[in-house]
Assembly symmetry: C2
Homo-oligomer: 467 residues x 2
């Protein structure tokens, strides 16, 4: 992942005009900043400096929910005396998300007033009257027996499968988990077959427990990818170290093809044209729960690595990191969460594509969401006024250039659209896409992945580790 050379992509043929709204004035960032490094982390020996000139986190302050190192043993002992709630894999991902401040200013799993505001308004009003965006419920479900176990205790320990304490939730509030209403208001449908619902809601308890979270040890997965899991504070430090005067985030959960690369490169060019001196790209694959037919994180990271090795993006102006959130596939509702979390990591520009966080309707033969609603909702969302929304321009394979280019409606006959489904079918059949669609190394990873699936007994393995 380290070997990233300079830009090799052709300049797009047509200059796209930028949307008129949602642009901030370029920041005049000084070239030296006072170091404010405050904790060691997975970036290793890199110097951490904090200038405070990046976009402010929601609520004005990044809320990290870690127990101080000197207090950890004490808290671990406290936790052993508390009623224990075992976390699922997705619960743990949310603990991770909350603890690092992606959901700032949330201080833990939502209490009912936060849950209701999320469901009804996709935003939360703070005590000072200001509003932050919050579109996806971050909640912890418990069942009747767990509720009984908690009894009158005001705190609970959150533990892993072996009952090791992970975190303490204090000043708790237990309230009803109306699953149907939660699903309907979050997804705009209650059709059976929504992946996150099947995985994390349908069989979960009928109660939710909210409270103030303190995580005893930072969450690690020990899967070889932890070094890519930079927290918002670490990302902010990194952007500051690089003297970024604009940070543009690209959320993805699919393999990167040259159309994506074109878009990212072109975005940087546009930002430079606007007067920014050093726009930095946050290439930010989602690392939490994804549905069974998505390419697993390990394979995606391997594919991204090959694509980057191929020199499509400039390492000096690109930060690759993993966004630890699980995926809801909740379209216009979820894209707000994806954008808001990136504000907390220091991004003031967000690239939004066609049908973000969308999928097919689980029952009907149509997309679940209107392909344009994501960017429309995002551009109007309360609490995201500070974020500059960059709508995704459609890229397609240009036969006259043997490569990906922005679609030119004046000569549609020259373009081929290669859908995700088509890409998957090609890779499964070990066929090659047209030259220039994806770098050969990246494509090889995809073919390997589908090969490994076919090799598995059932034609499917849960999450194969790349060879």
């Amino acid at each position: 992942m380290a070997a990233i050379s300079s830009i090799s992509l052709k300049t797009p043929t047509k200059i796209q005009s930028l949307p008129k709204t949602h642009y901030a004035v370029p920041l005049n960032l000084p070239f030296s900043c006072r170091s404010k490094s405050k904790r060691t982390g997975s970036i290793g020996s890199r110097t951490r400096i904090r200038c405070g000139l990046l976009i402010e986190p929601d609520g004005g302050k990044l809320v990290e929910l870690f127990v101080e190192e000197s207090q950890r043993e004490l808290k671990r002992e406290d936790a052993l005396k508390l009623p224990k709630i075992k976390l699922t894999k997705i619960d743990l991902e949310w603990v991770h998300v909350l603890s690092e401040g992606w959901a700032s200013p949330l201080k833990g799993f939502m209490r009912e007033d936060e849950f209701l505001q999320t469901l009804h308004f996709n935003s939360i009003r703070l005590e000072d009257g200001s509003v932050v965006n919050m579109s996806v419920p971050i909640v912890l479900a418990i069942d009747d027996s767990q509720k009984n176990l908690i009894g009158g205790s005001s705190s609970v320990a959150l533990v892993d499968d072996e009952y090791n304490p992970i975190a303490i939730l204090s000043d708790i509030e237990i309230y009803k988990h109306n699953k149907e209403e939660r699903i309907a208001r979050t997804w705009g449908t209650t059709a059976p077959g929504l992946p996150y619902v099947d995985e994390a809601i349908t069989h979960s308890g009928n109660w939710l427990v909210g409270g103030d979270l303190k995580v005893i040890d930072p969450v690690k997965y020990n899967d070889g990818l932890d070094r890519f899991r930079l927290s918002p504070a670490e990302l902010r430090d990194e952007f500051t170290r690089r003297n970024a005067d604009a940070v543009f985030a690209f959320q993805l959960r699919n393999p990167v093809h040259n159309g994506h690369a074109l878009l990212m490169t072109d975005t940087r060019r546009r930002l430079l044209e606007m007067g920014y001196k050093n726009p930095v790209l946050l290439l930010h694959p989602l690392g939490g729960y994804t549905k069974a037919d998505d390419v697993p994180l390990h394979w995606r990271m391997k594919q991204h690595e090959k694509v980057l090795e191929d020199g499509v993006l400039d390492p000096e102006t690109t930060v690759v990191s993993i966004f630890p959130s699980p995926m809801h596939y909740a379209g216009p509702t979820e894209v707000q969460w994806h954008a808001k979390a990136r504000i907390n990591a220091g991004a003031n520009f967000y690239i939004v594509g066609r049908d973000p966080a969308g999928m097919s309707h689980p029952l009907d033969k149509r997309d679940l969401y209107d392909a344009d609603h994501g960017k429309k909702v995002l551009s109007m969302a309360p609490g995201l006024e500070r974020l500059n929304i960059l709508p995704f321009r459609v890229a397609a394979y240009d036969k006259t250039k043997n490569g990906m280019a922005f679609f030119d409606p004046s000569r549609p006959q020259d373009f081929i659209f290669i859908s995700g489904t088509k890409m998957r079918t090609l890779a499964k059949n070990k066929e090659s896409p047209p030259d220039g669609f994806m770098c050969p190394g990246g494509w090889k990873v995809l073919v390997e992945y589908y090969d490994s699936l076919a090799a598995a007994d059932n034609g499917r393995v849960a999450e194969p580790v790349p060879s």
Copy 2:
């Protein structure tokens, strides 16, 4: 309805403390105001004065959407040349609602950006960056053939069953009507059997048409009740004429019993204690579409009249009027609409009860909404910060007083709760409720209503007119 005598209700035994939030400073309203009467209306000969000291309408200005009288013939002729959309009964109710400014600052049926903000945020951001509440979609559905009929026309005529032009919708936008998503996000369920959905959405077209509305003639129903249908402007004039320094609204769609009356009287008492000199009650039964098993408007108005004749409420400080909106039964989502519309009519206090706009789940044996969510959501709703929310205190029949009183949890054995279902069962069986539950005249109306139902062939008539 005119014969209303002075207060006859006993002072409640326990003084309720007011919630600490959501209270405005009492207005110092002068006792004489400059007359600003601008149009004649159904209040008849009463002097209309406008001081501008009531709560401001949403968006700062009450948006009335009437064609000026001098232009009506011209517009009628214009309308005849336009593509025609026939209005359903509920569509017409919305035309009425929009035209009088209950939904200010909406200028007509929602365009897609308003629709999306309503579904996702229950609020709309205005051009100046301020936010108004808007929780219920006010939309006009058309089908494929109507869409084809409109073709490229930028305006359409909205017509009644006999193709008489009612209004013109101009600068139109046609967009997709995703019914499932609309229902899920508005009701928090897609269970079959939601009354408004069955009546107005399921069989409606797959497109929505938004635009700027101009109503040629004010909507009238000629049902003997038009005189009670005061517009927000007329209500504001009336409150100003009465020198109201606080207006508290009570939304209802059920017969009034003495518990309601106690609550309204007690609210006035509390407002006086707070320092207001002349709080005026807006007793505001909903007059649009209601579900089949609700008591029809005519019977309710007759019942209200008897109750008021009984002297429960002071005519000097009570304005009875009909709220023309149709009913969604969408609980916490809808109660925001009920409250917001009353701001536009000049109310700065809103009484909210248990489970407002709620109903039973259409399939499951439970209430569709948590009984407390309505008031919680209302108190947090964006755009309603200016409105003072008055939570409803539970009243029950106090056996020691032979009348309705606020429930005292220290002596539960003294109270009987008489639910709506129980009330209906009693009235159907011509049994009497305990003395003091409802005035005899009002009760008689209910018994008559259920009698008329039983007399009808099928045991049910759609909307019998009171004798």
